[in-house]
Amino acid sequence: MNFGECAKSAFRNVFSNKMRTFLTMLGIIIGISSVIAIVSIGNGSQAAIEKEFESFGTGSLTVSLSGYNDIETRDLLTMEDYDMLKEIEGVSYVNPTYSGQSTYIKLLDPQETKSASVSGVTADAKYIDNPTMLYGRYISQNDVDMRTNVAVINDTTALKVFGRCDEAVIGEKIKLKTWKGTGKYTVIGIMENTNASAETQYSDEFPETVILPISTAMRLYNNKNLNGFSILIEDLDQTDSMKERIVAALEEFHGNEDKYYIQDSSEMVDSINSILSYVTLFISFVAGISLLVGGIGVMNIMMVTVTERTREIGIRKSIGAKNKDIKIQFMTEAVILTGMGGLAGLVIGVAFAMVIGHFAGITPVLSVGAVAMAVGISTGIGIIFGVTPANKAAKLDPIEALRFE
């Protein structure tokens, strides 16, 4: 009996009792769809996190004041540290992290203001943050030295403030207001929105971002203290020794100990990814149990089917079906049951992932591996849990089977 005949006959039998077929497949559908949904969401968040750090600058080190110890005035980071860090051997670029608090930007409607995310940078920031310029230029060393009143804004800001985002916005002025005072800045460049700022992670909208020369920003906020630094080193293989060297230099410079915290972005990606993969593994384990239960359900129904169709098996044997033919027939039915369950689970899982992704702001990523796994596991379950019933059918004595009512 060839495979085509076998599959055709199996489909006929599987579809002859639709309700039973559906209920039997349900366990497999639930198992496969949860695995697919979880894996796609997991992959999606992983990709999003990696992309985030990529735009943040891969391989960059982040220096910050350690929040666990008491901070004294002498521990604070300033532009003097910046000058010192730049001179360390092996450091290519340094950018201070400096963000202004409670700043408002005047919008198109002169009555309206909106909170904006303002940061001060040096010219090196373009090598570390990798901004994509849409129009105009980025902050230059000259802007920092001369403390010019210029600003780079993102396209959200351009649209909110000027109602458009094009070449003509360059040269226009934006107004910023803080509790220390106000300032007017000439727009010299518009950059593409990035995901780099942490607060955008969970909202669909990009915040209004304004980038000023660090010296200009310090004057606006009347504050010379930095949050920290982003440092790009020459050789990524030297990351660990460079981290030690930078911290040592800072401690020597300030005459203190254990006040600074340094982290490299790959470390952060790794730690987040490992948490994600543990979560994925755990939920997949739970889904795996559901697949096991589903498989047992398939076996149970196949056992019932074999008993119900004892007479049919006897008839088939009497006209020349070999044990092998009967075995293949029932195995095929089991595999069709679980395989269809697997495909349905795949579709439902993807839909489920898209719904979750829509609300969580994650684009689910369906990998070829996950699809292959869904198809493979569901077929495998059919084979594993189909063997026993199929063997039972194949071993029936034809005379006994023909007598069965």
Binding site: M1, N2, E5, R12, N13, S16, R311, E312, G314, I315, R316, K317, S318, I319, G320, A321, K322, N323, K324, D325, P398, I399, L402
Partner: protein
């Protein structure tokens, strides 16, 4: 030519340490082209005989030569092959698959024989036309009368051109008119050269055959040609 021969054939059943000798030292020879009926009361061993002749069961001892081969020693897979190629079965309760059409039921033995679909259909249609059901190809068993169902079963039994046709009480579930129809088909097939072995407990039905073997307690107590044979077409010889 001798088609089958049984030599000192025994079949013993063991149930709860109690052994029953269903067939005891049977010797039988059937020539090509014969039409034999096996008669006897229930428990006489006639059904066991047919199961062994039809290769559904193996004897405990003795030899069974079918077409020159001793099938008594055959394993399950070989017996399935013999059932498929050399034996055609007709049962009292028809034993058609209810979900399949007449055509598909008749095709089934050829499916197991690995005959390609096109040839399978041609041969199945020819077999159904031969039993007068050329217009009932798409009907399912429950849409057919008892006599028609048995004719589908006969078409199925014949379609692989077996060496021998085994019939187990083929008219047991049929009215007298259908019985005559089925016997007419059997006689026609036999006239065309098909060897038939039929189990029955009705003397009237046995009267349509050419030879009667009477079983009692696992022995053949009488084996002789039929005199005054009934012809289904009308009259007797």
């Amino acid at each position: 030519m001798e088609l089958l021969r049984l030599e000192h054939l025994k079949k013993e059943y063991n149930q709860n340490e109690l052994s029953v000798m269903a067939l005891d030292d049977i010797n039988l020879s059937v020539e090509d082209g014969e039409f034999l009926s096996i008669m006897g009361t229930s428990g006489s061993g006639k059904s066991t005989m047919l199961n062994i002749l039809g290769c559904l069961d193996s004897p405990t001892s003795g030899a069974y030569y079918l077409d020159g081969e001793n099938v008594a020693k055959f394993k399950d897979e070989q017996l399935a092959e013999i059932r498929n190629k050399k034996i055609g079965f007709v049962f009292q309760s028809f034993n058609l698959l209810p979900k399949l059409s007449s055509l598909e039921n008749v095709e089934l033995p050829m499916v197991y024989a690995g005959v390609p679909k096109k040839i399978r259909q041609e041969r199945a249609i020819a077999a159904l036309e031969r039993v007068g059901l050329g217009k009932r190809l798409k009907h399912r068993p429950n849409e057919l009368s008892g006599g028609q169902r048995q004719r589908v079963a006969i078409a199925r039994a014949l379609v692989n051109e077996p060496a021998i046709l085994m019939a187990d009480e083929p008219t047991g579930n049929l009215d007298s008119r259908s019985t005559v129809e089925i016997m007419e088909i059997f006689q026609g097939l036999n006239d065309d050269g098909t060897t038939i072995v039929m189990v029955t407990h009705e003397p009237d039905v046995a009267q349509y055959t050419k030879r009667i073997a009477l079983f009692k307690d696992g022995h053949i107590i009488k084996d002789e040609p039929v005199e005054n044979r009934t012809l289904a077409g009308g009259g007797s010889i």
